[in-house]
């Protein structure tokens, strides 16, 4: 039995980090990402909320903002949503205004602006648990009366407390159309607003609301005028004389709105909040340590090193278990299929071998997101941005670029979306351009395979770690100069202000952190089941066919004295070499010859352009096709270690020499090999131009640097 959908739309609006997404999750049962950093939600997301009594509404979670005078794209999303300006979306029928109960004054400034929209409102005072701990007592009845009778609900969204009241209050607000009391503007300002509204709608059928008139009069940016389609020529004179009127009343037009609202709110809040005895938060004390002049940076570096170190070493054990599982599965599926060599090869080499090689890296993904979740939900992320701001300022960026860049080490796609919190469009573009350089978790399998098979066995575990860490820095090494040139010379970004709220610390909430890990793990596994699976099968087929029996005959005839095993391997090699893949790889290989790649690596590299992790499963397939039952994870390593150049100037020497291994890793560190990243970049920068530029730049850079590495190292070694 489901309640009828009323077709009503309710928007969640409020300051950043007040708990809108937490509340959204509680009301809809969905799972939006939540975190203790101002700017976690950057796009709209909707779900269905049951109000009880047979009523359902559509609820929209929105990014947070401090003022309706929007500066950054995530804030623009809110003002567009409230104006019904998003394609395929109506204007909301009511607003669920979420406010931090511990700081009513600051939070209610936005409420005063929302009041002017004339929509039914429910005021939610969230984080009541913290307010109580601080000894704050809030008279919700008095506040409700002073605000014109809108329902005021005290909640702790995180614990689910007060959520049922919100449902009831929302039903009431929709029925009774409860509106927030509006501020009484001084007479001259009211007249100026009237002038603007009249002039903006004069001679057209466009509706100019009171809220629109305020945005037109008070904002320096023209975004509202542009949305209304009021031309610059028409509005300039009107706005100038209206602003003169405000000035004559003794207000600076750019300051009038906060001055009037805050004066009003101060009076309104008088007697609403009683400060009792409470625990002073520990935030100030923790900051004294974590932002200490000397200890702060030391701890920052320590935390970052710990972050990467645990991703490498903690994951080793579960990775071993998965590996054994994959090997066992191979041994289990292969023998019964002995009579059907093709099917055996498809299942054992293609699917289990290829996809299994990829799945081994699941523990790393989990640990990576565990750390990101803890850093963010504790409140440290904003401090990290605070510490790093100075360094970013050299590139014309600010600390807000730190968060996308750090999370770029996990995955570029959410990181590209998180650049929306950056106000300046050029700074945002520059940040988005360098995010794909960060060594994302998909590069990890490549490094792990190469280091595990070559660096470790040849030079010891110490060097293996060093190379692992170095590979994660290669991208950064090229990202910094790229950002510098881009911001200083190409885009000419102006120095950025850096106004970021430092939220209070809290113990990370296991539920939110675990949920984030789970979602990313699910995505990783489903990717293994779809994209990786499909590409793996294609690569397997291309390296298995054509399978002319004559090839085997020819090898047998040419070397009649070989042992059965050696003969088998020889036949195997002959088949792969004359497969479609072998022919194609050999044709393209000259382009990658300066990098020391043979045709098999070349094939792997080309197959990896849609998704770079594919290289692991591709090498898994090309180096083990037909090996069937015998092939286990050690076999891939061994096959690669034993691979020799069959001919040419390098004949007889190992294909995976130190130079080639390093070149391959550097190539993967720098190359743009991720379809979704390129598409997201295009979407976020408003066109294919920058996405194409990024793709071309990164790919050429990768080729050139990898060639340099190969040539230099092979000469030195």
């Amino acid at each position: 039995m489901s309640a009828p959908d009323t077709g009503l739309l309710v928007a969640l609006v409020g300051n950043p980090n007040t708990g809108k997404s937490t509340l959204f999750n509680a009301l809809t049962g969905l799972r939006q990402r939540v975190g203790n950093y101002p700017g976690v939600t950057v796009a709209r997301k909707s779900g269905t909320c049951d109000l009880g009594e047979g009523q359902k509404v559509e609820l929209v979670d929105l990014p947070g903002l401090y003022s309706l005078s929007a500066a950054s794209p995530d804030e623009q999303v809110v003002t567009d949503a409230l104006a019904g300006n998003i394609a395929g979306d109506r204007r909301p029928d009511a607003v669920l205004l979420v406010v931090d109960a511990t700081n009513l004054l600051r939070n209610l400034f936005l409420a005063s602006q929302v009041a002017e929209l004339g929509l039914p409102v429910v005021l939610v005072l969230n984080q009541a648990d913290v307010a109580k701990e601080q000894g704050l007592r809030i008279d919700t009845d008095l506040l409700s009366r002073r605000l014109g009778g809108v329902p005021v609900v005290l909640t702790s969204a995180w614990k689910g407390e007060g959520v049922a009241e919100i449902r009831r209050a929302l039903a009431r607000a929709l029925a009774e159309k409860t509106q927030l009391a509006r501020v009484a503007w001084p007479a001259e300002i009211a007249r100026a607003l009237g002038d603007v509204a009249a002039a903006a709608s004069a001679g057209t059928d466009r509706a100019v609301s009171a809220a629109d008139a305020q945005r037109l009069l008070f904002d320096a940016t023209p975004s509202t005028a542009e949305r209304l389609g009021w031309s610059a020529a028409a509005r300039d004179k009107v706005l100038r004389s209206a602003r003169d009127r405000v000035r004559n009343a003794g207000y600076n037009p750019m300051a009038a709105e906060p001055l009037v609202h805050y004066a009003h709110l101060r009076a309104l809040l008088d007697g609403v909040v009683a400060e009792g005895l409470g625990k002073a938060g520990r935030t100030a004390a923790v900051d004294r340590l974590l932002l200490h002049r000397v200890l702060g940076p030391v701890l920052f570096v320590g935390i970052m090193l710990g972050f990467f170190a645990s991703v490498f070493w903690l994951a080793k054990f579960p990775m071993g278990w998965i590996q054994s599982g994959v090997d066992a599965l191979k041994l289990f599926v292969a023998p019964p299929l002995e009579p059907y060599p093709m099917l055996q090869s498809l299942l054992a080499d293609g699917i289990v071998g290829g996809v299994g090689a990829f799945l081994t890296f699941l523990p790393q993904i989990l640990i990576l997101f565990l750390f990101l979740g803890v850093l963010e939900d504790s409140g440290y992320m904003a401090r990290a941005a605070f510490i790093m701001d100075r360094l970013f300022s050299w590139c014309g960026l600010n600390g807000k670029s730190f968060v996308p860049m750090l999370s770029g080490f996990a995955c570029a796609i959410p990181s590209l979306l998180s650049t929306r919190t950056i106000e300046d469009p050029k700074a945002r573009l520059a940040t988005a351009f360098v995010v794909p350089f960060m060594s994302c978790s998909a590069r990890f399998p490549v490094y792990a395979l190469m280091c595990g098979a070559f660096i470790g066995p040849l030079y010891g575990a110490g060097w293996e770690s060093v190379v692992m860490v170095a590979m994660h820095c290669v991208g950064l090494l090229f990202a910094v100069p790229t950002a510098f040139v881009l911001t200083r010379l190409v885009l000419k970004v102006k120095p950025q202000p850096f106004v970021l709220e430092l939220p209070r610390y809290q113990l990370p909430k296991p539920r939110d952190v675990l949920w984030r890990m789970w979602q990313n793990a699910a995505e990783f596994v489903s990717k293994a089941g779809t994209v990786i699976f499909a590409i793996t099968i294609v690569v397997w087929a291309l390296s298995y066919f054509p399978r002319d029996a004559a090839v085997a005959e020819r090898v047998r005839a040419a070397s009649p004295t070989l042992s059965a095993d050696a003969l088998r391997a020889r036949i195997q090699a002959a088949y792969v070499e004359q497969s479609y893949m072998g022919r194609f790889g050999k044709a393209v290989q000259p382009a990658f010859d300066p990098l020391g790649f043979d045709w098999k690596i070349t094939v792997g590299v080309l197959a990896s352009f849609p998704a770079r992790e594919v290289i692991v499963s591709t090498l898994g397939v090309t180096y083990s096709v037909g090996e069937g039952a015998e092939a286990d994870s050690q076999a891939l390593r061994k096959a690669m270690q034993d691979a020799r150049w069959p001919e040419g100037p390098r004949a007889g020497s190992p294909i995976f020499s130190l130079a080639a291994v390093l070149a391959l890793m550097v190539f993967f560190a720098l190359c743009s090999q991720c379809g979704p990243t390129v598409a997201t970049l295009a979407q976020e920068t408003g066109g294919w131009r920058w996405a194409a530029l990024s793709f071309g730049y990164m790919t050429l850079l990768a080729w050139a640097v990898a060639a340099l590495v190969y040539q230099v190292v092979s000469r030195l070694a």
Binding site: Y66, A71, F109, T283, L391, P497, V499, L502
Partner: protein, 86 residues
């Protein structure tokens, strides 16, 4: 009257004036930083820039260059109206 950038860590002051034409100041005004508001310079970042300031029950970062144009009255008897520690 001193620019905010010259306050010492831990020092209180009352905002005397800012420049409403600047984008940063408009953001700060929306957060409640208006003339007459008591604020405290909590600390400078380890590298000397930006600053962390506290006002109206919140801690906000701000760069030195922007703090230069915020004029603060340090002689005012502010500590009584101490902003609450968040």
């Amino acid at each position: 009257m001193t620019p905010l950038s010259q306050l010492l860590p831990g020092q209180f002051g009352k905002l005397a004036s800012l420049n409403p034409e600047r984008g940063v100041d408009q953001r700060l005004m929306a957060l409640g930083l208006l003339p007459g508001m008591v604020l405290k310079l909590i600390r400078k970042a380890p590298l000397g820039d930006p600053l962390a300031i506290e006002f109206a029950g919140q801690v906000v970062s701000l760069r030195l260059a922007e703090a230069e144009n915020l004029i603060v009255d340090v002689s005012a008897d502010c500590p009584i109206q101490r902003p609450r520690q968040p």
